[in-house]
Every structure is written in structure tokens, then in C-alpha cells.
């Protein structure tokens, strides 16, 4: 799946989000920088409230009136942050499409499946009548819905959760987007159905070269589909690395903790290593690194200053004083970690 190029498609620069809670502004996103290249797949992982969904809803201007979004979002030279509702609606669906966790609540319950796919085709591709109908049938066939012709005349409640998520994917594909943002697309599905949907997304990417942003709390799901992974904690990206590196050799103590806390089905059964404490409450800003109170390696500096997300090697970034820039190469970082495992 190496359709990724080096050409940036979407570049997020210093993006912040504050929610207005009746006069009081609560910051939930503390300035993130992220680049999605054409055709690449990037996973965003983190626990509830870390800002993984909020950041992409902000990109598409879907957060509503109570949100204050700052920073820049560049889509091939165009700054989305300054666009009005009208111009943004030309981006949504056509350039960047988004699918969500619960397909049943994203679909209109009183409209037939076919009509809802056609609507997207009319809007984004300017098709109409029988051309739209034929294209809708092609799309629903493409996403592996069995018995496509009959399904077009059914309502969402007549389809299973897995089938409805396929329909959502069909609608997202209607605009032939350059980027699909999938927010927990398989979280509500059973594992055997999840496997089907992940395979479908993989196939479609291989076929169309569409870039993918996969937002998930499940490290397993993300590792299955993504080439690059960004880990978020309390409204910041704390680590970003190629998938294979992140899982073999996590740099940030939080990533390390997340992986250690994950039970394994095959390794010898052993007690899980839990991360102590809980995620900080948004709006209660401590000086220093947000993870410091839970971090086994926190030092004086960690409690005083927020560590910047800095390149630790050419291909990865980490926001940690204990791990980052001083360590010159991947090899040194690895040996450091290896000695830690031994002791």
C-alpha cells in the first residue's frame, strides 16, 4: 500500500479548539501540527477526550457555534480555517469525506438507502436521474452490500450495522474524495464484521489511492490499516511515528503505557501493567507535561514546562524531555529501550 507520496494534502498548523461554556473558555486542543500526505493512511489514537475527533471535526468546520477554532488548515494551498460555510460545503464530501461510529444515526431513517446515496451523487458529482441511480447501484455493489438492487429500496433499519456502515462508506465514496476521515468506523461492530469493514477500506484505498485518517481508541485496528500513527493525550499529539516503529519501540511513556496495558491473546498470561491515575480534566491547566502526574519517568523539567513535539529522528516525533531530541539516532533510542527491557 505504498501509494503515499511526499506531497502534502492536508496540513494542520497550530490548531487550537476552545469550547465556550457560558463565558468561560475551556481549551480542549492545545495547538496541534499534523501533515497528511496524498494517498497515505494515518491513524490517530488516544483515549476518550484526548481531542482526536474534535481535531478533525474542527478541520471540516463541524463543531458548532460554541467552538472557537484557531490556527491554520491548509488543503493544497487553500486555508480552510478562513472559509465560509458555503465554500466549506464544497470541501466536505468532495475533497474530504467523513464517516462516523454509529452508521444508523448518520443515515436518515425515513429515506431509502438508494435515495441517500443518490443525494450525495447529485450534490458532489452533478449526476441526476437514471445516471445517479446507476452510479448508486455501482457504489453499493462496490462496498460489498449483497443483493444491491433490492437494498437500494430498503430503509436503514432493514439493514444490519455492518451493512449500514458499508452504505456510509458508499456515500463517502460518492464524491470521490482525496481524503476519508473515519472516526471509530468499526467500534460499534462485532469483531467478525469489523474485519470485513477494515478489509473493505483497505481494498478501496488500494484501488482509488484515497488518503485515510483513521481515528480510533483501538491500537489493533489502527495498526491494521495505517502506515503512520499519531498518539494524542489531553489535546496534544505526544508521539508520531511509522506504525511498525511505534509498536516495536514506543518512545513516549504514554504510548509505552498504552501498549503495556493492552492484554495479548497469545503471549503467556501475565498481570496487566496499568497506567496509574486518570486523564486530566480539560480546563484545569497544569504547568508542564499533561502526562507527568501519571508518568513513571517524570522529572523536574516535566512538571515545569510543556515538552514540544520535536523530531527524535527524521521519521518520528515525540513530545518528551526524557526521550527526545538529545538521543541522536533510532539505533541509540532502541538500545536504550532494550537495556530497559533487560533490567
Amino acid at each position: 500500500m505504498s501509494v503515499a507520496s511526499h506531497e502534502p494534502l492536508v496540513t494542520i498548523e497550530r490548531m487550537t479548539v476552545d469550547f465556550d461554556l457560558g463565558g468561560r473558555l475551556v481549551r480542549v486542543l492545545h495547538g496541534i501540527d499534523l501533515e497528511v500526505r496524498r494517498g497515505e493512511s494515518i491513524g490517530i489514537v488516544g483515549e476518550s477526550g484526548c481531542g482526536k475527533s474534535v481535531s478533525w471535526l474542527a478541520v471540516l468546520g463541524l463543531l458548532g457555534r460554541r467552538a472557537r477554532v484557531g490556527g491554520k488548515v491548509m488543503l493544497e494551498g487553500q486555508n480552510l480555517a478562513v472559509l465560509g460555510e458555503r465554500e466549506l460545503s464544497r470541501v466536505r464530501g468532495r475533497r474530504i469525506a467523513m464517516i462516523f461510529q454509529d452508521p444508523a444515526s448518520s443515515l436518515n431513517p425515513v429515506q431509502k438507502i438508494g435515495r441517500q446515496i443518490e443525494e450525495a451523487l447529485v450534490l458532489h458529482r452533478g449526476l441526476s436521474g437514471s445516471a445517479a441511480r446507476a452510479q448508486a447501484k455501482r457504489l453499493i455493489d462496490r462496498v460489498g452490500v449483497t443483493d444491491a438492487a433490492r437494498r437500494l429500496d430498503q430503509y436503514p433499519h432493514e439493514l444490519s450495522g455492518g451493512m449500514n456502515q458499508r452504505v456510509m462508506i458508499a456515500i463517502a465514496l460518492a464524491g470521490q474524495p482525496d481524503l476519508l476521515v473515519a472516526d471509530e468506523p468499526t467500534t460499534a461492530l462485532d469483531v467478525t464484521i469489523q474485519a470485513q469493514v477494515l478489509d473493505l477500506i483497505r481494498e478501496i484505498r488500494a484501488e482509488t489511492g484515497m488518503a485515510l485518517v483513521l481515528i480510533s481508541h483501538d491500537l489493533g485496528v489502527v495498526s491494521d490499516l495505517c502506515e503512520r500513527i499519531a498518539v494524542m493525550y489531553a489535546g496534544r499529539i505526544v508521539e508520531e511515528a511509522p506504525a511498525e516503529m511505534l509498536f516495536v519501540e514506543p518512545l513516549h511513556p504514554y504510548t509505552h503505557g498504552l501498549l503495556a496495558a493492552l492484554p495479548d491473546l497469545e503471549a503467556p498470561s501475565q498481570r496487566l501493567i496499568a497506567i496509574p491515575g486518570t486523564v486530566p480534566t480539560p480546563g484545569v491547566d497544569l504547568p508542564g507535561c499533561d502526562f507527568a502526574p501519571r508518568c513513571p519517568e517524570a522529572c523536574e523539567a516535566c512538571r515545569a514546562v510543556v515538552p514540544p513535539l520535536a523530531n527524535s529522528t527524521r521519521r518520528r516525533r515525540v513530545a518528551c524531555f526524557r526521550r527526545a531530541p538529545a538521543v541522536g539516532s533510532e539505533r541509540i533510542a532502541f538500545s536504550e529501550r532494550a537495556s530497559e527491557l533487560v533490567s
Binding site: E47, S48, T146, S160, G162, M163, D190, V191, T192, I193, Q194, A195, Q196, L198, D199, H217, D218, L219, G220, V221, V222, S223, D224, A243, E244, F247, G257, L258, L259, A261, L262, P263, D264, L265, E266, S269, R271, L272, I273, A274, I275, P276, T278, V279
Partner: protein, 329 residues
């Protein structure tokens, strides 16, 4: 003697096929002949996908609704769903923990009082001070600071709430704890804390548990034996390590291989085609045969029984163990 013995229970619901008033009625077989037993101090895991009947089984075990047939024995006594004096006494010894702690707690009552309440209901401990003492000792046992005693549920985090629910379930010193998806609503880092806690309290209070979850990785961490359900029946049962390492039933094999794991990226995944069939319309023969990659002619006509394969393992498949030999002959 087993603490809990479930003998061939079934639960059928009569449902209308469509929303029309005079539509033909049909039977939904939520649980269709399930038997198992849990020895004292042991934990049985029930796993399977949504609609397989695992939660209905738990309800029948707790006597929360009548079974259509079969019976449940708790310490040698039959559990009925009639809510009489005896039912209440039995219920003192069997407690439950559900998925959503916020839904299980009373939002208008301090959490400490909610842990005291079962003692009042069952008249276990006399005197307010003694009850408070006992509740506080449970707070300590589940790793909650005593300063949280007077807090309300909304002031606690998800993990803390689930600890309160657990403290409340344990305050009566039950011998059986039924957990239905106890960690599914929690984030990974908190999930690990609660899984470890469950292991600790199990040892400390010598609990038997029925542990229901769709997450095989969590189940393996907690249980002594695991039973896999598909459309209302147990199709495979055995010790978790062996069962997950080398599944016998093709459904278990697909289930295990479908779990995405970060440390193993590219691997041979068995992707099942189609959705699980509707429990109103269970296929003839083996219920799994329409999705089974290995189905043979016999699977379409005969339903395989759950039978012993050896080494504490059971499977309901014509292609496994003794069954396979018979097919070949």
C-alpha cells in the same frame, strides 16, 4: 460440588415477523439449550458476538426472568424467577456488575450511601456506624480513596464509578459475581486497572464469577474456563490459553483471527462472509454452516452436539475430534 449448575436452559420469545398486527408469530431462540457449571472460586467466561445470547444467559442465572425450560441450581437450590423470600435470600449471594456504571448508580445519592444500601436492604449489619465501617473497608478493597465516600457519581471518573459498582456488589460478601461487559465502556489505561482489580478481589473474596464479554483479550486475562456462544448455544468450551491458541471450532478460529492486535500486523485473517443469521430464523443443521468455510454436507442437516474432545475441551462441530472420526467412518 459446583456452586452454580446450569442445566439445559432455553429462553424463547414469541415475536411478530413484521410490524403488522396479524402477522405470523414466530419464535426467537435467544438461548437454546445451554449447560455449564462453575465450581466454587472459579470463573467462567462467556464470549460471543451481539445477539448470541450471552447476556440472556446471565439474566436466567440470576433469576431475573423465567427460563422457557431447563433449570439453574445455586449451591444445590433451584433458582426460580418468582420474587419471594427465598429469591431475595439467594440474591444476597449472587451479585452483578454491568457495562455502564453511570446507569447502574443513582445519580442523586452519594456513592458511599449506595454501597451501604444493600446492607440495609438485606438487614445484614446493625447500626449505622458498623455499616459505614464496612462500606469504607470495601472502598479500600477496590482502591477508592475514602474522601470519595460523600461524592456523587457525576463527580467521579468512569473507572472510579465502576469501582463503586464493584464495591456495592461485594459489600454483601456474595459467593457468585456475574459481570456483563464490566470493562467495555472504559478506556484502555483504565480498563487494565479494573481488570487487575477484578483478579485481586476474586482471590481476596474467594469469588466464583460468570464473566461475559465480547473482548477475548480481556476474558483470557480473568477466567479459568471459557465458553464460546453462537446463536444461543455453546459451540466450544475449554481452558482459555489452549482454546485461544488452538481453536477447534471454525467459528472460534474466525473470531480469534479477527481480533486486530498491534504486535502482529500482517497475518492470515479468516474473514467470514455475511452477518450472523437472525435468531428468529436459525439455519437447519449447524447454525454456523452458512458462514463456515469448512462446512460439509452433514453440517446442513445435523446439528452437532457439544461433546468432549479431551484435555478439558468441548466442541460442537462435525469436523472435530470424535465427531470427525464418525464422519470419516
Amino acid at each position: 460440588m459446583a456452586l452454580l449448575k446450569v442445566e439445559d436452559i432455553t429462553k424463547h420469545y414469541v415475536v411478530r415477523q413484521t410490524a403488522r398486527l396479524f402477522a405470523r408469530k414466530s419464535i426467537l431462540r435467544a438461548v437454546d439449550g445451554v449447560s455449564f457449571s462453575i465450581p466454587r472460586g472459579h470463573t467462567l467466561g462467556l464470549v460471543g458476538e451481539s445477539g448470541c445470547g450471552k447476556s440472556t444467559t446471565a439474566q436466567l442465572v440470576l433469576g431475573l426472568g423465567p427460563a422457557t425450560s431447563g433449570r439453574v441450581l445455586f449451591a444445590g437450590e433451584t433458582i426460580s424467577a418468582v420474587r419471594d423470600e427465598r429469591w431475595r435470600t439467594l440474591r444476597r449471594h449472587m451479585q452483578m456488575v454491568y457495562q455502564d456504571p453511570l446507569g447502574a448508580l443513582d445519580r442523586r445519592m452519594p456513592v458511599g450511601e449506595q454501597v451501604v444500601e444493600p446492607l440495609l436492604i438485606h438487614g445484614v449489619e446493625k447500626g449505622a456506624a458498623a455499616r459505614r465501617e464496612r462500606a469504607l473497608s470495601l472502598f479500600e478493597a477496590v482502591g477508592l480513596g475514602t474522601e470519595l465516600f460523600k461524592r456523587y457519581p457525576h463527580e467521579l471518573s468512569g473507572g472510579q464509578r465502576q469501582r463503586v459498582v464493584l464495591a456495592r456488589a461485594l459489600v454483601l460478601e456474595p459467593s457468585l459475581l456475574v459481570c456483563d461487559e464490566p470493562v467495555s465502556a472504559l478506556d484502555v489505561s483504565i480498563q487494565a486497572q479494573v481488570v487487575n482489580l477484578l483478579q485481586d478481589v476474586k482471590a481476596r473474596f474467594d469469588l466464583s464469577m460468570l464473566f461475559i464479554s465480547h473482548d477475548l483479550k480481556v476474558v483470557r486475562q480473568v477466567v479459568d474456563e471459557v465458553a464460546v456462544m453462537y446463536l444461543g448455544r455453546i459451540i466450544e468450551q475449554g481452558p482459555p490459553d489452549a482454546l485461544f491458541r488452538q481453536p477447534l471450532h471454525p467459528y472460534t478460529a474466525a473470531l480469534v483471527s479477527a481480533i486486530p492486535t498491534p504486535r502482529r500486523r500482517m497475518r492470515d485473517r479468516i474473514v467470514l462472509s455475511g452477518d450472523p443469521p437472525n435468531p428468529v430464523d436459525v439455519p437447519m443443521g449447524c447454525a454456523f454452516h452458512p458462514r463456515c468455510p469448512r462446512a460439509i454436507a452433514r453440517c446442513r442437516t445435523d446439528a452437532p452436539a457439544l461433546s468432549f474432545i479431551g484435555q478439558g475441551r468441548l466442541a460442537a462441530c462435525h469436523l472435530v475430534g470424535g465427531n470427525a472420526a464418525r464422519v470419516a467412518a
